[in-house]
């Protein structure tokens, strides 16, 4: 069994790839996918520490995170569909009226 630092390195890599994808891409659908990647990386951390510390708490939290991710994906994709109806595109920089 690999030790915790290998799990944490894997999780850190996945999280970084997800974050870079969120900033880099212009397509909203791919940005939502990258957010899912980041949530998954956090789940890997929880499960690795649950295994290391022999505690079930680390296996309960991923279930809640997966529930939150499902809700987030549903609402985010609904917003994407509305944006597509309004602007006929799913690029993020066409919806920049708020100048955030």
């Amino acid at each position: 069994m690999p030790d915790s630092s290998a799990w944490l390195l894997l999780s850190a890599t996945l999280f970084t790839v997800g974050l870079v994808g969120v900033i880099l891409r212009r397509n909203i659908i791919v940005i939502l996918m990258c957010i899912e990647l980041m949530l998954n990386a956090v789940n890997i951390n929880f499960v690795a520490f649950a295994n290391r510390l022999a505690s079930l708490e680390g296996q309960i939290f991923p279930i809640f995170i997966i529930a939150v991710a499902a809700g987030e994906a549903a609402v985010g994709l609904a917003i994407t569909i509305q944006l597509y109806r309004l602007r006929n595109t799913v690029e993020v920089d066409v919806a920049s009226e708020l100048r955030g």
Partner: protein, 226 residues
Amino acid sequence: MDQVLSAVPMLVFFILGTVAVGSSILVVAMRSPVHSALFLLLTFICVAALFILAHAEFVGAVQLLVYAGGIMVLFLFVVMLANVRDVPGTRMISPYWKGGVGVGIALFLIFASILRSGAYADPARSTDPLREHEVTRMRPVATPQGTEQRPVLVIDVQGNTEAIGMELYTKYLVPFEVASLFLLVAMIGAIVIGKRNLAALEEETVPPFIAERAATEKREKEAIGA
């Protein structure tokens, strides 16, 4: 032989981890959202296998069902529905890509420097104590007066799903109910946001084939009624 067998989880971890990281990079790099979604599916399956490797069988199964089953279908459905035509020559990455790469490298260096200090070195332990817990059961015990039923501590072996169920419905009951409320709110929100609001203006701009189909259906119904 034992040495070979003990190296197997390590090998599985490295293969699955490499595939997961590689396909996650391809999620970001692929031009078409459909390809991104399929590589995301590969990443999710690899992560689910890793969960099972880490003795979190229930979380791995939930990951497969919810992510690979539910969320992926949602993503692919929206990709097909939006049906964005890929115009060659358009930019795929945002104008802020330099900042994104910088933030990514900085974040990864922070993570790597935390790991390098050796704070997470493992104690040598490979047993799976999540499956065992102590319970008191009534057992016949030999006494000077004969045998009688007494509470005795015994080691009970249970599955991962059973253990998580016990925790979830006793200690984490309130968060569990809050999560169900959250899912209800998210469902209502998704329906309200995604609903096509049929204002009078929009009804005028209904595509002609839909209006035609509605007229045909109306005529057929009248024909059946008559």
